[in-house]
Amino acid sequence: MTLTARRYVVVVLVAAAAWLVVAAAALTIGPVNIFGVGGAVQRQMLDGRIGEVVTASLVGAALAVSGAAFQALLRNPLADPYILGVSGGASLGVILGTLVLPPAWLYLRLPLGGTVSLPGVCGFLMALAVIAVVYLIAQRRGRLDPYRLILTGVVASAFFSAAIMLAVALAGDRLRNELIFWLMGGLGSPRDQRGELAVAAVVVMAGLAVFVWQARGFNLLAFGEDVAASLGLDVQRHRRTAFVVASLLAGISVSLAGPIGFVGLIVPHLVRMAFGSDHRLLVPLSVFGGAVFLTVAHRLVLLVPYEVGGGLPVGIVTAMCGVPFFVLLLVCGRGIRGGVL
């Protein structure tokens, strides 16, 4: 079915409404019945849950749309936000920040209220540095080639996972447990995150706006750069922008919540299966799909009683749901077609 303005508006509004419903329902779900407590406790609990739901939504949206963009940019349905090593860099930044900064400095109180996690800031700065380095290595006379990007990214990822292992190995016993847990993708610790959530929200929204703008370019690029250029697209500018924005989104979500796997790979595929490959729909639907997916996964984790492994990192759930689903995609062969497989 081809896309009309009407269909676009209806589908996107329905997706937004679905996310709102899920987010509201998520506030009532947790280890403790929020209606069973009263007064200040309820207020405090609600604040905490709003923080969690907003974090999950932002991170899920950023990862899913970043994955969709990387898949289009690299013309590779197996691409995900972590493919170019940006997340490895961000993870290393967070870990080094945690190891090096004195405990009293871990959270920076903002003048407007809320705190920012300084290791998170280190992670984001590291992500910026990795974006610059990967770009410099992958470009040739200002031209970005998808194959060189993937090769560079694979090498960068390998380097960072070695560096992360080294850092974790050298950390003290107590810290090592914490770091390993964080590396599983934990969605952050409950605390007053309003400051960093606001910053992240601005970055994520700006990124989304860019991708909405670039969506038709992604459609054209699916037919190769020559065809895209012949249809009027400035391919190199489009690629550079998409690469930087998708990497920024990956970097900020890792800095915020740790490396949560599979959201960025699977959500775009689910959307494609349901609504086709037109990126004008894929981009906004990945945003809401990612937000819903991670919010639900996170609530499921919170429902696990503490005695049987409560407080599990949400990354375990997304991967556990993700792998069988991906196998199903491969076996049924509907979701991935015309690509590398």
Binding site: M1, T2, L3, T4, A5, Y8, Q71, A72, R75, N76, P77, V212, W213, R216, N219, L220, L221, A222, F223, G224, E225, D226, V227, A229, S230, L231, G232, L233, D234, R272, G276, S277, D278, R280, R337, G338, G339
Partner: protein, 285 residues
């Protein structure tokens, strides 16, 4: 920069291009394509056909000389503007994701739309008639990867048509097609040129198909134009020997078109007259 409707649609004026010092890919190539004309660009592998097409499409940068489309310098136009002048059909189009034929054809409307625009009912009608024009109307809702190579290539041609550009540039569009679909594609191009007045420049690899259906032929050899003109002037035993380095008989077909048949010799006697490398090995140094 004045528009001269009487002038050629495409003028390639003394274009040279090199991938590096001493590696000339194109040398002083000039050619013209008029409105309503189907011009075939032929030559052996590595003769610079694709390089020339890529320069015309602005997919390669650099080189010297001028490429003028409808009286305007190609490099002086914005890409989107240029996409309304020139449409392009590559050898093969594979999409990284699953699109329907209709979706793919509608992408041809991109140069006519704003970044955030949606296709209108008018665009859809144009897309449908382009699909009908290439006899692919029944595939509108079919996924591209469910089509055969020939069907997909026709859909891609519809995408190029819906761009509604006066110039159509094709890079070996028939190389993966069987003989019937090759002829059908060329016949369609010929009709588009003669009936709709499009200017078509088409790189071909089959001399006989091109000679039968093109209005004019340009033969490239080692980056230079070796011969150019009507099929009967261009396709001779002599020019085939010079350009391709093989002996061939050239007959006249029933429609008056030249037909090339390479002379088959017993094994071992196939040394090509033009190729220096094969004789070098035998010469005592």
């Amino acid at each position: 920069m004045t528009t001269t409707p009487a002038g050629p649609m495409l003028r390639v004026d003394r274009v040279s291009f090199s991938y590096g010092p001493g590696r000339f890919e194109l040398h002083d190539v000039s050619l013209e394509v008029a409105r309503g004309e189907l011009v075939g660009l032929l030559g052996p592998n590595g003769s610079g056909k694709s390089t020339l097409i890529k320069l015309v499409m602005r997919l390669l940068e650099g080189g010297s000389g001028r490429i003028v489309v409808d009286g305007r310098d190609a490099l002086r136009q914005r890409r989107r503007e240029y996409a309304r002048q020139v449409a392009y059909l590559p050898q093969e189009s594979r999409a990284a994701f699953a699109f329907t034929a209709m979706e793919a054809v509608l992408m041809g409307r991109s140069p006519h739309m704003g970044a955030l625009g949606f296709e209108t009912e008018d665009d859809r009608a144009r897309a449908r008639s382009a699909l009908d024009c290439v006899d692919a109307g029944r595939f509108a809702d079919t996924m591209l990867d469910e089509l055969s190579g020939g069907e997909r290539q026709r859909v891609m041609l519809a995408r190029a048509l819906v761009q509604e550009s006066p110039l159509l540039v094709l890079d070996e569009p028939a190389s993966f097609l069987d003989i019937r679909h090759q002829y059908e594609l060329y016949e369609l191009l010929r009709r588009l040129a003669h009936e709709q007045g499009k200017a078509c420049l088409c790189v071909g690899h089959d001399v006989n198909v091109a000679a039968a259906l093109c209005d004019r032929l340009v033969l490239l050899k080692e980056g230079r134009v070796e011969v150019a003109g009507g099929p009967r002037e261009v396709v001779t035993a002599e020019s085939i020997r010079r350009v391709y380095g093989i002996e061939a008989e050239v007959w006249t077909g029933s429609a008056g078109q030249p037909v090339v048949q390479p002379v088959v010799r017993p094994a071992g006697a196939m040394a090509s007259p033009g190729s220096a490398s094969s004789s070098d090995g035998e010469r005592p140094i």
